[in-house]
Symmetry: C2
Subunit: 303 residues, 2 copies
């Protein structure tokens, strides 16, 4: 059990939730890029950075058209890569869009995003996970608080905290239609969770997570450090956030749907090992094991 010996972030192994101080830098020095020192420092201390109006109106039209095309593809609702809303049966997420769509592959490799992510991670990067999310109006469900890294570490074998998520707003996000919320500074603590990971956990966890969920006491402590911030950003803005920040979103009863694209960039010096829970790895469409630099990703076949 080599993996267990090396596990500096144990989770789902003990009877009590604990907070472990982060052992990795947030910003890894070594590469220049377009972010200012202030932006880098803010990302390091708060764990996130919002960049407004990165995409143009015409780029957004293309991206929204692609979402429309994908969500109306007849077989997509049944595909493994697709997550359905529990109540309405509408498509909530489609995974691995950087492999199935030229448009999203090109967006994932866009230098406006990648140059900033490389600058934060201090190395070349590959896509660990990608997905398109739609939170429908009226009954869009909440996503409960979680650290992505906790799951990626335990279930995918991501060794250390050296990955950055990028959420790209395709629609205007208001405070009242279930936008992304984060707990600033929570990325500086690893919230070790209780409960053993069940086999094939991903089949349920993408709809409603029951393991890898921080305790109420943990969340109270983390919220005391830095409260809660939400992101009412305009379409075309992006939010970069550290892989270990606690985040979630409330329900959306408003009539306005919300959609975004989500790319996870992992450092090529932090590629996956065996999952730390000891179970088989999750499927490729959730946790990529082809460590291709994002700029060299092949172009998907035409539609």
């Amino acid at each position: 059990m080599v993996a267990q010996e090396l596990d500096v972030y144990p989770s789902r192994t003990g009877p009590e939730p604990t907070l472990i101080k982060r052992r990795d830098p947030v910003v890894h020095p070594g590469l220049d890029g377009p972010l200012t020192q202030d932006q880098l420092q803010s990302f390091a201390s708060e764990g996130f950075l919002a960049l407004n109006d990165l995409l143009s109106a015409s780029e957004l039209d293309v991206l929204r058209g692609e979402v429309q095309r994908m969500t109306s593809a007849p077989d997509l609702a049944k595909a493994l890569q697709t997550v359905i809303e529990p109540e309405s049966r509408e498509i909530r997420s489609v995974f691995e869009v950087h492999r199935s769509s030229r448009v999203f592959r090109d967006l994932a490799a866009d230098s406006r995003i990648v140059d900033r992510v490389r600058q934060i991670l201090g190395s070349d990067v590959y896509i660990h996970q990608s997905r398109m999310n739609r939170k429908s109006g009226f009954e869009g469900a909440a996503f409960y608080w979680h650290s992505d890294f906790e799951t990626w570490h335990v279930e995918d074998g991501m060794p250390r905290m050296r990955a950055v998520s990028c959420s790209i707003a395709l629609t205007d996000n208001y405070t009242w239609n279930g936008p992304l919320m984060v707990m600033p500074k929570s990325h500086l603590w690893f919230a070790s969770c209780v409960g053993e990971t069940p086999e094939e956990h991903y089949k349920d966890s993408l709809r409603k997570q029951e393991y890898g969920v921080p305790s109420n006491e943990t969340l109270h402590r983390l919220a005391e450090e830095g409260s809660v911030v939400d992101f009412p950003v305009t379409a075309g803005s992006i939010v970069l956030f550290d892989c270990n920040i606690q985040h979630g979103s409330n329900s959306n009863i408003s009539p306005l749907p919300r959609s975004n694209v989500f790319f996870v960039y992992n450092s090529l010096e932090n590629t996956l090992v065996e999952p730390f829970c000891g179970l088989p790895p999750r499927p490729e469409f959730i946790a990529c094991r082809q460590f291709t630099p994002v700029q060299e990703l092949p172009t998907p076949a035409a539609r």
Copy 2:
């Protein structure tokens, strides 16, 4: 069936949802008060008015202490006046607090509120309904969109639109802990709903409403008129809103609970008749049939 003949706001009677133009003024002239002409005009056109910092810190301490006392009273969780969260079994609402608590009776009759409400309604007023709401952290459930007047008209026999609700924030309301949301200008339309009212509907509807719920198309149209507004107000602020405005709130997954007190003031020239659905009236603790001017309410017995 006199009531049916006089029913200018029919609902739950037809096969299709419809929008009926409001037939009543929003601001009823006749009484002076502390609201400015701008405030009155804004209330008339938008359907709501937020007044910041109306209560002092020491008043808030007393009110929060009263909530604490009431929600820890041993028998309250079983009382008819109490609504329990479906999942956590925590107390979500307590009705009729102006009759059970001296503190809330005095707040209901406070001239800072009552003088403004009388000015809007152009007459003396009584309390149609009162309640204390607590939306707990982590799993506070959403309240779906509704017009209170629709229910008060159909199930309680409130004849016309001449009532004002007052929501008093006892805790800071952030955009991310499930604050009140309204659809501005929606009070100018009566959203007639489909479906017949079941008997003793209130027993379920206080937890999760299934009748008197506007259709998606109706909500889209109303949101196009004036979008959606939420109220991230500090503790001690109040929001006055018209009885017919569409309102609701999203879930609260944040660690911070939210509590407020809610008084409904109805004009003494608009007292209840038989319910327009033809069923027996709802109980007194939900829909008061003692039309006592709020300033003359008896003081509840000591604790």
